[in-house]
């Protein structure tokens, strides 16, 4: 890839964090308003793509949770899986999401589930995007 323009290099980190904040916002509002973990993951993916365009795929990959797309996706699947366990241990069917209210804020394992979806989409699709954007870079000698 040609050297990215200085404008992109300057803007990318800000855009990156902005998109991540949007992703988090989408995740949190998703329960009542349009949004949710899936869309949040896609927006986070866009953030990662911007970062990869500006600084290259390896740098963008290091910024992912657990510093690798595959690990990020695996963590997401694991979180979603684990979020169903408390209910199962309590005797309810797997993936029933219990709700508790702590200090006026309703919390549920469903948030954990949605966070898992976000991470899995982010890492899973991000892995494809980063690998494709990385085709340019010569392969390392092993």
């Amino acid at each position: 890839m040609n050297a990215p323009s200085p404008v992109l290099r300057e803007l990318a980190p800000r855009l990156y964090w902005l998109l991540l904040v949007v992703a988090a916002w989408l995740l949190l509002r998703g329960h009542h308003e349009p949004g949710g973990g899936f869309v949040g993951g896609l927006v986070a993916l866009a953030a990662t793509v911007v970062r990869a365009l500006a600084f290259g795929s390896p740098e963008a990959a290091r910024r992912l949770p657990l510093r690798s797309p595959a690990a990020c996706a695996a963590l997401g699947v694991l979180l979603s899986l684990l979020s169903g366990l408390p209910a199962a241990l309590g005797g309810a069917p797997f993936l029933t999401h219990p709700w508790v209210t702590v200090a006026g804020v309703s919390l549920s394992t469903v948030m954990l589930f949605d966070l898992g979806v976000l991470l899995a989409v982010w890492g899973g699709l991000g892995g494809y995007a980063l690998a494709l954007l990385d085709l340019d870079r010569p392969g390392e000698d092993r």
Binding site: L42, V110, F113, A120, G124
Partner: protein, 759 residues
């Protein structure tokens, strides 16, 4: 086997303690079993509901037959574990093999105690997989890998037959409990489906117990380490097939087709395996063929009717385990001590390996069925079984082939016990043969000596054999068991067999030369046919792949789209096209539709790839707008996000292709009449389908349910998201896992692509 330099003392001690810990598992199981047998009457049952919806229960049941198998599994297991610790001392595979053996022990205990057909199948398959892992222990050796694959394909493929058969049987009997199936067996004899059901079970048992024509995998499986061969491929696992046949025999033994299948199959397998054993030079493979022979004999005995046959089957089961496992240990010791198992290079080892020679002599005595050994008693009841059987005369005649089998068994015993230890002081006198360590000589000695002790005092096992025979007999009450010696006619038979066997032993080398020269057996034998079948499958698959996966993207697209349109179009036309009433959309919707249309038309007319990509992106954004204005904001958001990421990645790929000079090799976009026609058909077809769906009646039940329940049941007002994360959470979990796994599959390809481009 190579020996690394000896470890330090603490290392040795740790290794010994570790091995001892492994051996505790079968030892504890054996002790508990013996204690239970002495204190509690059989049968023992234990049931826990497992998958109640499917009628599957975690039910275990131990009757006489199970107890007999359990004794073999745990008793021989102790010997095997101790032997393995000695055989694999200083070997880096030791822990792996011991761990696999432990897992196998547990699977085997489960298989012979399971009363539920599905449970039995699960344990059965577990033993197949563990056998695969053990046969492939030397996975760096290609032959070992092939043998492991062959064993898995044969027994695993048979396992599928077994599953089908057991499910059919369960359907017929109305229960998946094995004891229930057996109890209802006689009332099922008129069912026409009984043929496929028992036929499939028979195939499963035949693959597991290496019956003709599936006999070939067992000798090839000898690439496993010797302890595993002795345990899995002689004493226990391969007897699972016999075990299940014997179990079902209590229910279906009076059914003539059952006997007509079992007796000839077992008898022919036994005789043929004995012929094939004469073609071998490798001591372990000779023993393996004689194991196949013993399994054939067992299947034949199960098929023969009459009480004596069941007693004979039970006795032979025990006798065989008690002499064949030690003989495998002997083969392992000889291999360990001399570095070879080839007969021509072995001889006169008796003085260098006295304990191994003693174990071989004791075990050989039993295998040859000479007096004073348990093998003699077993042979005694086998002969009796054929004399007082109520089976068809024809089958009794077929069963006479046992005389030949017995004679070759005598010869094999003599080869293993006499020839390599006391004769042929051949080239191996120069080999530095040495005796194995204590852990390698005690187990064969103990097992072989047990075979003699039981021969002298059969009363020790008589109650158990009676219980086992009773479990193989329909109804209540069992046959009387009398293992006492009846000298007059049987000694003569035994003498004849021994005489003929001695003749075969003396003529072993000439016989071997004649048989080894029969190369049609190599070319047309079952093993060769199996390999040819595998190779053929590979060729057909490769040809199909070349034809279907030609790599031309436009052709793939044409096939996919054409098929989709033909299929859905036909469906849509079945109901007749009904156009919904015309309605004028609002301005925003019209705008979005115009954006989509403009993008599509531009994409068709442009020839510059990058612009073309942007135009197609316009279609995506237009669709997102359309979703937004028609009340699907979630969908619109998703569409925007996907489209953006896709266009950016695809654009950078296009740029890269151009820079890499690869773009020129692609045909330039131009008007293709065929593509135009296909495009028109697809577009019109899909439009028609959408119209037909929109015009048809729609069931609002789901929509109403989710809208009404989203907040009360899941505390969310965004119905779409609530469906995704809560109502259909399991689906979402599956999809998320698919995304993650597809990345795992794609990463190596993408990495390889990059590496390939770079070089």
């Amino acid at each position: 086997m190579s020996h690394p330099p000896p470890d330090s003392r603490p290392g040795l001690l740790r290794e010994a303690l570790g091995s001892a810990a492994f051996a505790l598992v079968p030892a504890a199981a054996f002790a508990a079993l013996v204690f239970g047998l002495l204190t509690r009457p059989l049968p023992w049952t234990w049931t826990v509901p497992w998958v109640p919806g499917a009628g599957v229960q975690l039910s275990l049941r131990v009757d006489g037959l199970s107890a007999l198998m359990l004794l073999l599994v745990t008793g021989v297991g102790v010997a095997v574990f101790v032997y393995a610790a000695g055989y694999l001392a200083h070997d880096r595979r030791r822990v792996r093999v011991l761990a696999l053996l432990t897992a196998f022990l547990l699977a085997m205990i489960g298989a012979v105690t399971a009363d539920d057909a599905v449970l039995l199948f699960l344990f059965w398959e577990a033993t197949s997989v563990l056998s695969f892992l053990l046969v492939g222990t030397d996975h760096e050796d290609e032959a070992a890998r092939k043998s492991a694959q062959q064993a898995l394909l044969v027994t695993g493929g048979g396992g599928l037959f077994l599953l089908a058969g057991l499910l059919l049987l369960g359907q017929l009997a109305g229960t998946y409990s094995l004891s229930g199936i057996v109890a209802r067996g006689p009332s099922l004899l008129h069912e026409p489906l009984l043929y496929p059901a028992l036929g499939a079970v028979l195939v499963g048992c035949a693959t597991k117990s290496a019956q003709f024509p599936f006999h070939f995998w067992l000798p090839d499986a000898m690439s496993a380490p010797t302890p595993a061969s002795a345990y899995l491929h002689s004493a226990t696992m391969v007897k699972l097939g016999v075990y299940l046949l014997a179990r079902l025999d209590a229910g279906f033994g009076d059914w003539l087709p059952w006997d007509l299948a079992l007796v000839p199959m077992g008898a022919f397998t036994a005789a043929w395996a004995m012929v094939l054993s004469l073609r071998e030079r490798d001591l372990k493979r000779i023993l393996a063929w004689s194991t196949v022979g013993a399994l054939g004999t067992l299947v034949m005995l199960v098929g023969l009717q009459g009480d004596a046959a069941t007693v004979a089957a039970a006795s032979f089961l025990v006798a065989h385990a008690l002499y064949k496992a030690p003989l495998f240990f002997v083969a392992g010791n000889v291999d360990h001590g001399t570095g070879t198992r080839v007969l021509d290079r072995l001889g006169g080892l008796g003085r260098r390996m006295p304990f191994t020679a003693a174990a071989a002599a004791l075990a050989g005595l039993s295998m040859a069925g000479l007096p004073l050994s348990f093998g003699y008693l077993a042979k005694d009841v086998i002969v009796a079984a054929k004399q007082d059987t109520e089976t068809l005369r024809l089958l009794v005649t077929v069963a006479q082939s046992y005389k030949f089998v017995g004679a070759v068994a005598v010869a094999v015993a003599a080869v293993a016990a006499v020839r390599i230890f006391w004769r042929h002081p051949g080239p191996c006198d120069s080999c530095p043969a040495h005796e194995g360590n204590a852990a390698m000589v005690v187990p064969p000695l103990v097992l072989a000596a047990t075979g003699i002790v039981l021969g002298l005092a059969p009363g020790l096992v008589e109650p158990l054999l009676a219980a086992a025979a009773r479990a193989m007999t329909p109804g209540e009450g069992g046959p009387p068991v009398d293992l006492g010696l009846s000298w007059s006619p049987l000694l003569l038979t035994a003498g004849t067999t021994a005489g003929v066997g001695l003749g075969i032993y003396l003529a072993w080398d000439p016989l071997h030369r004649v048989l080894a020269r029969l190369d049609p057996l190599d070319r047309w034998g079952a093993a060769a046919l199996f390999r040819a079948g595998l190779e053929g499958m590979r060729r057909v698959a490769a040809g199909l792949t070349r034809t279907l996966q030609h790599g031309r993207l436009p052709a793939y697209l044409a096939v996919l789209l054409g098929a989709a349109v033909l299929g859905t179009g036909a469906l849509a036309l079945q109901g007749g096209l009904v156009f919904p009433e015309a309605s004028s959309p609002g301005l925003p919707v019209a705008f979005a539709a115009a954006v989509v249309a403009a993008g599509a038309l531009l994409a068709c007319g442009l020839s510059h790839r990058l612009v073309l990509l942007l135009a197609s992106g316009l279609v995506g954004y237009g669709s997102a707008l359309l979703f937004l204005f028609t009340g699907a904001p979630d969908l619109a958001l998703t569409q925007f996000a996907v489209e953006s990421a896709f266009v950016v990645v695809a654009a950078s790929l296009l740029l890269w292709l151009r820079r890499a000079g690869a773009a020129r090799s692609l045909p330039e976009p131009r008007l293709r009449p065929g593509a135009l026609a296909l495009g028109l058909v697809v577009g019109l077809g899909l439009a028609g389908l959408v119209l037909a769906v929109a015009a048809g009646p729609q069931d609002p039940a789901l929509r109403d349910f989710f809208t009404a329940q989203a907040f009360p049941a899941a505390q969310g007002r965004n119905v779409v998201n609530v469906i995704i994360v809560d109502f259909r959470g399991l689906d979402t979990l599956g999809e998320v896992a698919v995304v993650a796994f597809s990345l795992l599959a794609a990463l190596p390809l993408l990495t390889a692509l990059r590496a390939g481009r770079a070089s």
